[in-house]
Amino acid sequence: MNKQTITESIRGFISPKTLPYPRQPSVPPEGFRGKPEFDLQKCVGCGACAQTCPMGAINVTDGLERSIRVWYGKCSFCGRCQDVCPEEAIRLTSAYELAVFDKNKATADVKIEFESCPSCGRKFFPAPQLKKSFEKMEPILEKRNISNEELRSLDRVCPSCREKPEELSKRKLFLVNFG
């Protein structure tokens, strides 16, 4: 027995320190790293998050469309994906009450449409990423007086169609113009 514990016990007896948690939500501080979520509008489907994730919690699967899925049953909430995302499309929210009965449902995903090749119709590349790269190229192209349309028509062709002779000649012409 000692005086310190007794005084503190009495203080605790009068006013317990327990948070009224389940009745009132307990808000984590600013900058808390909770459940990762995609911004469906911003995501371009580049897959940088999946590349860098130290835990391998983010999966990219290509089918008819690209689906990026973060399984937060495997996530460590480190925030590396948030750091590397070029579009700030993945964000760690402050949600932390993640208990689930089925672990496969502990996911957040985003579906990205593919660009289809104009000549063969094959879906080969996430459309928003292509669009974004065109946007980034635009100032450079403008400087050189090259129309964006021309590049766009070239890059929308899938890698296998680019091997075709007419496409090859088009690309060579473009590169000559580009300087």
Binding site: M1, N2, T5, I6, E8, S9, I10, R11, G12, F13, P16, K17, T18
Partner: protein, 306 residues
């Protein structure tokens, strides 16, 4: 004649239920006070009932290496000990039909300790064995001051009947004023009898898991839990009867005094760390026994206030 038979049957039927309900509430009071003194909120009032019900309806596993007869008998023995002691105790203005005898109560209060020793050693777990050996040591050390301090009251009124002891106190004032040393010694032993700190050595969680209870599960553990609940009524009630005049023959005062005793025990429980077994043994055999013996000498030589 018939009226007295009916009333005594009613007493024997109702007293255990009363004891169980009040004991459950006292146990909850203890847990609540402990939580509050630790700056927490603590469990809701029905907690003990929930615990007991859950355990009684849970699967009970018997270890293969356990000595089955003793393993099953031990919880029953502990329960019987407290039950018989409970049926001997006057509660406020309710007196038992067969006058309670101090010696009988003391003997039956030893029974749960023996039951724990048997249960622990029969379970075949090393933790149970160590818990049992610790319980044995503590039983030996605590029975001496416990019995002496309780007997002081009996020697004073020259009768071993609990009712006579209570009545004498109604006349001359509570024993706690006349025999403070015996009261203190009795309180020390009460902490041990209730398995509270600093004497919760037989089932010290961090050292030997749950000690003698380690291998018990389900309804057998539930039976132990029921005897635990009963002891939270029996032992404070015993103390109030012996040293606080049995609540002056008033049920309400009696229960309030019991509550004060429970609160005091909760406070002592939270403010102490656990003794090592040898330290506890020495403490009980020297200090508690010394205090009890002082008042024993005072009582037997008539050198007291009344």
């Amino acid at each position: 004649m018939t009226a007295s038979i009916i009333s005594s049957i009613a007493f024997y039927v109702l007293q255990p239920f009363f004891g169980f309900i009040v004991g459950a509430l006292f146990y909850w009071v203890f847990r609540k006070i402990r939580a509050r003194l630790q700056a927490r909120r603590g469990p809701p009032w029905y907690q003990t009932f929930a615990d007991v019900t859950k355990l009684l309806f849970k699967e009970s596993i018997t270890p293969l290496i356990a000595d089955k007869t003793i393993f099953y008998l031990a919880p029953l023995l502990a329960f019987t000990g407290y039950l018989v002691a409970l049926l001997q105790l006057p509660i406020g203005n309710v007196y038992p039909p067969l006058a309670g005898d101090l010696i009988v109560i003391l003997i039956f209060l030893t029974l749960p300790g023996v039951a724990i020793i048997l249960g622990g050693s029969s379970s075949g777990s090393p933790y149970g064995a160590i818990g049992s050996s610790r319980e044995t040591a503590l039983l030996v050390a605590s029975e001496i001051p416990f019995a002496i301090s309780a007997l002081v009251t009996g020697i004073q009124v020259k009768s071993m009947s609990i009712i006579k002891i209570v009545d004498a106190q109604n006349q001359f004032g509570p024993m706690a004023f006349h025999y403070p040393f015996a009261t203190v010694a009795f309180f020390m032993c009460m902490l041990l009898k209730l398995g509270r700190k600093p004497f919760d050595i037989p089932d010290a969680e961090v050292e030997i898991i749950a000690g003698p209870y380690t291998e018990y599960s389900g309804s057998l553990l539930g039976l132990f839990e029921i005897s635990n609940v009963l002891r939270w009524f029996v032992i404070p009630a015993f103390a109030v009867n012996l040293f606080f005049a049995g609540g002056l023959g008033n049920l309400f005062v009696f229960l309030t005094l019991c509550l004060v005793v429970v609160a005091l025990i909760s406070f002592l429980d939270t403010q102490n760390s656990r003794y090592r077994i040898d330290q506890a043994f020495n403490f009980l055999l020297t200090w508690a026994t010394l205090l009890a013996v002082i008042d024993l000498v005072r009582a037997s030589t008539g050198w007291a206030l009344w």
